[in-house]
Amino acid sequence: MSTLKERALHPFKRSTFDRFDALHDVSFAVEPGEFVGIVGRNGSGKSTLLKCMAGIYRTDTGAIYINGRMSTFIELGVGFNPDLAARDNILINGVMLGLSPREARERYDRVIDFAELREFEELKLKNYSSGMQVRLAFSVMVQVDADILLVDEVLAVGDVRFQQKCFDVFHRLRDEGKTILFVTHDMSAVRRFCHRALLLERGEIIRIGEPAEVAASYVELSFAEGGEQPPDPDATRSGDGAAEIVDSWWEDEHGERQTALPQGRPCSFHARVRFHAHAEHPGISTVFESEAHQPLMATSTDNTSGETGLFEPGDEAEFQVRMDMVFAPGRVHASPAVAHRGGHRIMDRRERLASVVVTAARVSGGLIDIPHDVRLTRVEPVLQPDRELG
């Protein structure tokens, strides 16, 4: 955009702009009935890709082909007007999504019933709660019955019950053989619904295939760079300096240093300590914390004998914790500390010195995932003698 004045004052100046390829060399095919998740960090080109497929943006090069009726849900409730009642908004939204006005009117009852907003149908949209607006919009989308749906992060809305309904609909759509391309940051949704997923980074597909694997790559990528790092490890350092934790890292089961570790496999945490003063049976400990600063586990040499030995200035020691990786997927921080015997006088403590990203195929929602068994057994109902049956 420019003004005529700029053009008139600088008639020979080429309009200046920075060229930015939002997408580059992206090529993939989606089979009918496939449910494909598109994941990637902010600015990786997910939404641009969806908008190109939707026909909102024109691609500079390359071609996109579709076979079937397509509907786009970049945003729920496109064309909604707060001053109109539900009926009119359903009509506008339906027509925008590709229905004819007659089709939109015919589907009105189904839409309003699905949204469970029958009693509010005469109300203007501005008097709806945001959750109700979302319900209405989602209901229109479901009733449009396209063969191909392009969906951009719309599930993170509504109350729990309606979310469940949305998920049910997604399952139904999947079972009905609709083709769905679904942009999201919700890896559990990717794992639950998608047949395939593709991971975009800087406008290129860096991974395409099994949803679980792609989701794991995404988690790894997100935390590998740009993840939350403590601003300055020294700022949170404390202790009298009689010893120093010089290094700290994670290793996989083969003894290789790693920044990401798969859940459920053996691994180890290491901290290297250098002593600057005479130390008698020092205690070395560490706390593992989640990204949200929840302590997950703490351990210390005091848990064993506490008899760690005598150290002279210049001596070094390596502290190890061997375990199976039981933490939930995400980043885990370790804060190791070395203290004088008894653990109360700290020599050196380093907040969040070493972190590792735990990768896993599914997110349980808990802080840790330990091997366990789940069962459901059918049992005979207990008859209550004093209650009438039927």
């Binding site: 955009m1 420019s2 003004t3 005529l4 004045k5 090529s27 908008k51 190109c52 497929m53 939707a54 026909g55 909102i56 943006y57 024109r58 691609t59 390359g62 071609a63 996109i64 082909y65 579709i66 076979n67 079937g68 786009t72 970049i74 945003e75 496109v78 064309g79 007007n81 001053d83 109109l84 009119d88 009509l91 506008i92 027509v95 925008m96 999504l97 590709g98 004819s100 006005p101």
Partner: protein, 284 residues
């Protein structure tokens, strides 16, 4: 995509365009959007439609007082008040549809950036909405014309035909202005000025007869399509003794000039809009 034949791949997504692949959809969308917008105006406030009507009527009242009491431009003109009101109502249609379409694409940003649809719908719905208002306002004009003492005539049936070139002219400008505004924000002030020029350059406040020379009269009727339409409207609806458009233009053949202007504006408007349509979403 390495396959040469596109048939098994389905249809190609070419990105947005002015008309899209299905012309019916253009109409469906434009009508739906215009109807909804009309509803909002009509039922939006307590007095609703009255305000839509009040605007030209108040304007008329002011101009009427000024030009019959102070300047006396309308003195001796048969049915001057009816001519004035009709002129204002027709011009209101023209100025509403064009000046609203200047910002139309920006106003509809939430649609343009969020969904694929034939982009032509945006200016088209603005012109349609102005048409709806025009029809209602013309009912008021009709009442006024009858009250002034004009007898109904069969020729009145030809009056709606005049709304076709008027709509085409406004529509062409609507496409042109809405597409240009996305790139050049100066379009808005420029168009406001041009609208003023057109207002005073058309026989709304005055009738052609007061112009000093025949040359000037012919110049106005030949090169301002609005003037051509207004002159003919006065002849058809109000005063059959007033000259019709071809007499005022100095011959039927001269009407080809305003007709050409309307068609050129229409073609230019469509060409520019069609050229800009694919990129409009990105340039907002």
């Amino acid at each position: 995509m390495t396959t040469a034949s596109s048939a098994p791949l389905g249809r190609a997504i070419k990105g947005p365009s002015a008309l899209g692949s299905d012309p019916r959809r253009v109409l469906h969308l434009a009508v739906t959007l215009a109807v909804m917008e009309f509803k909002l105006r009509f039922f939006g406030s307590v007095l609703g439609y009255l305000w839509q009507l009040m605007r030209p009527l108040l304007f008329f009242g002011v101009l009427y007082v000024v030009f019959t009491e102070f300047v006396r431009i309308g003195e001796g003109v048969r049915y001057y008040p009816a001519i004035l009101l009709m002129g204002i109502v027709l011009f209101t249609f023209f100025s509403d549809s064009t000046s609203r379409s200047v910002t139309a694409v920006i106003d509809r940003e939430n649609l343009v950036r969020k969904i694929e649809f034939p982009r032509l719908v945006v200016p088209l719905s603005v012109v349609l909405l102005a048409y709806f208002n025009l029809v209602l306002n013309l009912l008021a004009v009709l009442v006024f014309v009858l009250a002034t003492g004009v007898d109904p005539r069969l020729e009145w049936l030809a009056f709606p035909l005049l709304l076709i070139p008027l709509g085409l002219f406004a529509g062409g400008l609507a496409m042109l202005l809405s597409a240009l505004f996305v790139r050049f924000r100066d379009v808005q002030p420029i168009w406001e000025v041009l609208l003023q020029v057109l207002f005073y350059g058309s026989p709304i406040l005055y009738v052609l007869d007061i112009l000093p020379s025949d040359e000037l009269r012919e110049l106005v009727v030949r090169f301002n399509p609005l003037a051509t339409i207004l002159v003919q409207a006065r002849h058809t609806l109000i005063d059959e003794q007033a000259p019709n458009a071809w007499d005022a233009a100095g011959g039927f053949v001269y009407l080809l000039i305003p007709a050409t202007i309307v068609l050129v504006v229409l073609a230019l408007g469509f060409w520019v809009f069609n050229r800009e349509a694919p990129r409009i979403a990105e340039e907002l």
